[in-house]
Symmetry: C2
Subunit: 523 residues, 2 copies
Amino acid sequence: MRVGLTHSLHRLIQQKPDEVACIFEDRSISWGQLGDRVSRLAGALQQVGVRQGDRVGILALNSDRYLECMLAVWWAGACLNPVNIRWSASEIVYSLDDCETQILVVGDNVLQSAETLHEIRKKSSSLKTVVQIGGTALDSGVLSYEDIITAAQPVEDARREGGELAGVFYTGGTTGFPKGVMLSHDNLLSNALGYLLDLPYGEDEVILAAAPIFHQAGMCIVLRALVRGCCCVVIETFDPTAIMQAVERCKATFTLLVPTMVQRLVDHPDITSHDMRSLQKVLYGASPISAGLLERAFVALPNVEFFQGYGMTETGGPYTVLPPYFHTQEGRRAGRLRSAGKAAWGMEIMVVDVDSQPVATGVLGEVVARGPGIMQGYWGRPQETAAVLRDGWMYSGDVGYLDERGYLYIVDRTKDMIVSGGENVYSTEVENVVSKHPAVESCAVIGIPSEKWGEAVHAVIVCKAGQTLDERELREFCKESIAGYKCPASVEFRDALPMSGAAKVLKHVLRESYWKGRERRIG
Amino acid sequence: MRVGLTHSLHRLIQQKPDEVACIFEDRSISWGQLGDRVSRLAGALQQVGVRQGDRVGILALNSDRYLECMLAVWWAGACLNPVNIRWSASEIVYSLDDCETQILVVGDNVLQSAETLHEIRKKSSSLKTVVQIGGTALDSGVLSYEDIITAAQPVEDARREGGELAGVFYTGGTTGFPKGVMLSHDNLLSNALGYLLDLPYGEDEVILAAAPIFHQAGMCIVLRALVRGCCCVVIETFDPTAIMQAVERCKATFTLLVPTMVQRLVDHPDITSHDMRSLQKVLYGASPISAGLLERAFVALPNVEFFQGYGMTETGGPYTVLPPYFHTQEGRRAGRLRSAGKAAWGMEIMVVDVDSQPVATGVLGEVVARGPGIMQGYWGRPQETAAVLRDGWMYSGDVGYLDERGYLYIVDRTKDMIVSGGENVYSTEVENVVSKHPAVESCAVIGIPSEKWGEAVHAVIVCKAGQTLDERELREFCKESIAGYKCPASVEFRDALPMSGAAKVLKHVLRESYWKGRERRIG
């Protein structure tokens, strides 16, 4: 489309100059003020050497400055590189150097010490300029964000648009080295516009940006608010108390939560002492919500309509939606609460077999998607790009099926699927059974090499404190629920499972020792 | 965007195969059936010679077949030429030949006689094939729509998208020969997506397509319904009784009306005997609604929220919206009911002086707009295109101003503005005063050549039956309300004003005799 991500700001400067664009802690900024600061920060970025299409990194916790800085990068004609704050210095350096990011904007309270910044600057071959938001300078030669805004003249919007690159989002998933997902203005705008059809924001909606903005899902929240001209309330970190306080204080009407955050919120002892009545809609994603948790959420947040979404960075954001109806008492009889929802406007979903042929309704296969949200590719990685973008379809690596109304059910990751004696075993199905055993605290099921079966089902189990579990007893327990070939052929007990920053079990770490020196065929 | 107008149909075939897509008279068709017919009609079109990008004309009253045929043209990879049914045979031939339309689909009850079709076929140099919907063949060699669908095999969607041409819409406005406005898939989709933010359709909305679909505004209604997956109730012609019956029978929730149709509907004696309670939203456009009519509409349609829109074919559809609030008792105090609304998402509005420089808030000038909805140009007319598309802005030819919140007020057409003695006189302002005189039934004010003033204000007046009016008396009457230089310097009485099919006064016809042989500088 002949339009870019800054367009909405121009409209809002004209239509809502005095209305609040963003609230962060005790600061609030109007659309007019935001427009002024963005156009001057864009000028400052150009002065320090940012040219059209250059990448500008942002390493920051959520704040109003994050929103402002994103917009200024686009206004200057540059491309965003939102750096994951949980990464180590070397991971950060990797993501900066991989896409040749020369300028990094560093936020408040994000780096553990001045040494970390010093290390990043020393190790990075591409980084030339660091701009620091707030606080005293962490390192010599670091520019002050406020100083450069004050000194700069406003510049004209570069008006990048359509297929031009808006951001490179480094994502590692749970395996391998981070890859830079290239998303264009069209990718991000089509996602926002399509999703707003199923999850409409009223003009007076107050959007709580609680999830990290450097994650694509968190950024989508902010972009939808911008497209619709809604006020964004931003909190620094994803914390239940901060969410409750922000909802109460700013009368937030919408937010995005992951199920664990729904749980931490609705089970929080203080929830009854906060006025949460303004909150009307919650989008949750990453994993389905349990019926029990939903019941508690209904009680704790009686005004809230729940929406489920599913997507990945490579799809430009969430692209399925499970509407509120299926969360209600009546709608739950339709049995779609386990579903991730149906395709939002702009995206088409297909489930295919190993030969990329579509399978019938209800049959498992790899989930593939196409549409205007699909990424341009991985930065500098044509082979990895070609492996997932085939004939216009994005291969998600997720195993699932579609029902007769196009609702998508995610069963497993293809790489976590175990092929044993020619049968497909879905690790999540086995994990669901194993985790029901009263002695099990948590578990992960993986495929390990087997001469006889190709792969064998292997369970890694963390027992509850003071409890033990016999391998044979577990197999008997499992056989009551699932076929023999799905039951763990071997079991391993550990004190803890290796987890990612996003609280996902790192199954590749568990598999590593078993597969060393061998090639595991997946997909 | 990497998406086209057929995308929505793919989604709906997957998600709502059995749900009703369209109702016309006693027929209804599901999304699954529509998908089947569209893919076969597309095959049939390709068989009779339609290639990628070719124009296919449709000359038909509104029906479910219109919707189906539009989609089939796009599915086949072709481009639509929706022909104005009010045109004469030679105007139709002009619009077919100008963009080399080889195939024309002709609907039921649209041509006055078989001779008309025969004449079109004889005169047109481009037309090769005629496909006729329903009835007995009007002419020899005419193909039957149903026969070719039945005989054809379904084909794969050509999946045209983005900047590729979706339609050539011939529009004459009130002057000159029709020009073919080229609109791409992006133009039409961005308009639909942007407008749905301010005028959201629920998934269960029932859309009444009452305005002619061959007009761009009428087509936008259908395209928004398609994007959102809403059922469309289609009526053949724009008629108050048909509207009332369709609302009652099909529980329509939304429709588009022009103010005269609002008037004919709400003042209709039968309105109280029809159950209109399902109707929740009405979009009206083309001209502002009078306060008196609105009051009557509130009484007649108490459940309805009114939205006003403004746009032109060249902008891909309506691009401003005046939300319901400003129509309410409370909102009307804000005084924006005379406004055409503010820019919808995707579009930016500016008001400029004769040097194309933006003017201040409240100052009159020419309204210009830019955004992804703006046409690709006029078919085969680079000069006319360059005259209205300048530096990315579309020059509307409308005179207006913006208020401090970006609400647009349309005052006149630039070409109807009179420049007299260096002063700008807006014809509509003078007409408003003249029409208040008790003897005046209708009037039009134009500029005529004047040696002294450049142009002089001239009024053409139709008096009420049995009444007369003295020229001097009229001038005195006008002077009570407006400055002397704005008052008509000369007056002419007629029995009727020349009107266009869209009920607009043809001022260029009135001006013609005065300006013959002279050049009138406008804009």
